[in-house]
Assembly symmetry: C2
Homo-oligomer: 398 residues x 2
């Protein structure tokens, strides 16, 4: 076996201000290194139960069917769609960004039919168009959309659309990958029948798990399927037998849970419980507002109007004359700060700046503003000196 | 939000001698806690490339298409089957245990047809029966089997069956979940077209990733698919764009890789490179032989004849009069040792004792033998005192 000369693991310390993963608290990283347990060990079952109980609080739900899927956020999207749809079913999908589009790509693979309700990237979806689609189509099984679009930074209004879906006998399914844990998500109160997230954004854990919850209507649809799911690994009826509560009987083995990832999620959820949801949402809002005030002082413009911005992710227009990649590479190499570029039609046109979970801190707001204040003039975009941090500070102390 | 009173994470230290997960080295656990990187960070891309290079060495392959799937071993099984099969295809599957059966369960979900070559649980598969099946069926696309059956502890002969598959124009696909990294697996030399594993067994990392490799024939089959895979998350053509080598162009975003899990796999693979594959296989053989010598001295019988045992997992018959669960629970609570029970027809009849990766150490052999020497007589099964460890020691020092 030739020596590959692969050295000790020593990743650079990054400030992760892109669309995710975000930074995580040291105690959450430490939890990953706790001794491994077997996946059927009573001590691990207790850890699973605690993790699920904490997840229900963050989802603001009493849904029995609440589990972390053993995959990243995309696996959560796939699990919710492939389990609730059967060949020939119709789903109405709101698309105004990359991840809405991904839903339609998945759906076509299961032999289901997508009806799109579209809006320009960076804009909100129009409930009236959902209403029209629901009235036009027969037997819509699901209405789906992305709560906080990771590609645009738009926060969609969901309560009204949820009501429309239910009025037409459809399930309401949403992607809360970029909102859960940082933005208010009220599963029970808003009538969300199914939703999924990822651990690496506002939940404050590393990537690797996809928390998912199903309400009673979705569980009913799942249980009355006529065809098997063409996906064994993500078959929720099998997963429920492992993660669900089964008093006085042993758990059914499905697959070996990623033990260490569950440890880290449990620890991240504990930090959320300690902080409290309200305070956490307020923190995300405060820091995002400060960042935007700083951006505006630098002369940068936001893609999304104030009313529809998600506090977890801010999309800022790249000023004329600045090269996207040049600036992002300089931020990474000179300041060890990662921000995201645009996807699809927004590639090269916006930067995506995340303030999620542990990353959402005043010192990170200042770090990025200061870095841009040094960097942008060096690349030909003049900015006022010494005022961006001050503008952010005003917001933080308001 | 009501206080759930969930305390600090403090899992008990277990000696993991079941069918997996196994214990992992402290340095591998530590690697999990390294600072997170973004999944498109050049520093992470380098870590991915190093991990893949190390994986190729362990698979003993030069296959370009070698990646860790972002899921556990079952996701690896699903990825290899759902990508290589299309509706209407025929696959010949060797079934002599639980995991061969799981393959057939998956295959039926993709609309493909399984032809079974069966053997009693605990026995090897007969190459003649594969030959007969290949001659009888027309257009067999894949011949598949489990290399080391985790439910029985049998190591199947694969070279001869690989040759038969190729002679009939079929791909040869195997499950190396319980062999890779502890038992010789020669992907290129043996003509394995596709195989997958899990990180939590002989590879010595926590559960969460499924290393997978495809040879040129399998890649050709993948690329000439006529129908899309009904599985977006595990679509290997999309994953290849993220993990594969793409000189001078940026990686295509697919899903957010589980960064911390990749760190731990890289570190586990470094420990394998340092030890050397030959020495590692010899260690697994030495410790398994010592354990069996100790078991026999205690009066316990093995399920599988010596010639077909896998060194990673030993199945031992539960003596008449002893209750499976009672003993396993006592081992766990009194000695903090986990061993596995039987699956399917072997439930209550065998124990499955793993010595995989970091768990494969003489001190663990002694720990289990000593524990059983104390425990079994207390439950009515007399054993000779003070001789099992000595028998193991003889083997270890031979």
């Amino acid at each position: 076996m030739p020596d590959l000369n692969i050295g000790e693991l020593n990743p650079p310390e990054r400030l992760l201000m892109g669309p995710g993963p975000a930074n995580v608290a040291p105690r959450v990283l430490q939890a990953l290194s706790a001794p491994l347990l077997g996946h059927l060990d009573p001590a691990f079952i207790e850890i699973m139960d605690e993790t699920v109980a904490e997840l229900r609080q963050v989802f603001q739900t009493s849904n029995q069917f609440t589990i972390p899927i053993s995959g990243t956020g995309s696996a959560g999207m796939e699990a919710s769609l492939c389990n609730l749809l059967e060949p020939g079913d119709t789903i109405v999908i709101g698309v105004s960004g990359y991840f809405g589009g991904r839903m339609t790509e998945m759906v076509s693979r299961y032999g289901a039919r997508s009806v799109l309700v579209e809006a320009e990237w960076g804009h909100t979806l129009d409930p009236e168009q959902f209403k029209a689609a629901l009235e036009r189509e027969k037997d819509v099984k699901i209405v789906a959309l992305v709560h906080a679009e990771t590609s645009t930074g738009v926060l969609q209004p969901v309560e009204e659309i949820a009501k429309l879906a239910h009025d037409h006998g459809a399930l309401f399914l949403i992607d809360v990958v970029t909102s859960l844990g940082g933005i208010d998500v009220r599963v029970d109160e808003w009538g969300i029948d199914a939703c999924f997230s990822g651990t690496q954004k506002c939940l404050g854990a590393p990537p690797g798990l996809a928390p998912l919850t199903l309400g009673p209507r979705a569980v009913e649809v799942l249980r009355s399927r006529k065809t098997p799911v063409a996906n064994w690994y993500l078959d929720l009826t099998l997963l429920d037998k492992y993660w669900g509560e089964h008093k006085n009987q042993s758990r059914a083995y499905h697959h070996t849970a990623p033990i260490s990832m569950v440890y880290s999620l449990r620890e991240a959820l504990r930090t959320i419980a300690e902080e409290g949801l309200e305070e956490r949402f307020a923190r995300h809002h405060r820091n995002a507002s400060a960042l935007r005030a700083g951006f505006e002082t630098l002369g940068l413009q936001m893609l999304v109007p104030d009313a529809y911005r998600t506090d977890s992710l801010t999309t800022v227009l790249i000023p004329e004359g600045l090269d996207d990649l040049t600036i992002r590479r300089a931020l990474l190499s000179e300041f060890s700060i990662e921000i995201g570029g645009g996807l699809g039609p927004l590639a090269g046109k916006v930067w995506r700046v995340g303030l999620m979970g542990y990353t959402s801190q005043p010192r990170n707001v200042f770090a990025l503003l200061n870095a841009l204040e040094q960097l942008l003039p060096a690349h030909g975009f003049e900015v006022p000196r010494g005022t961006a941090a001050a503008a952010a500070h005003v917001v933080l102390t308001a």
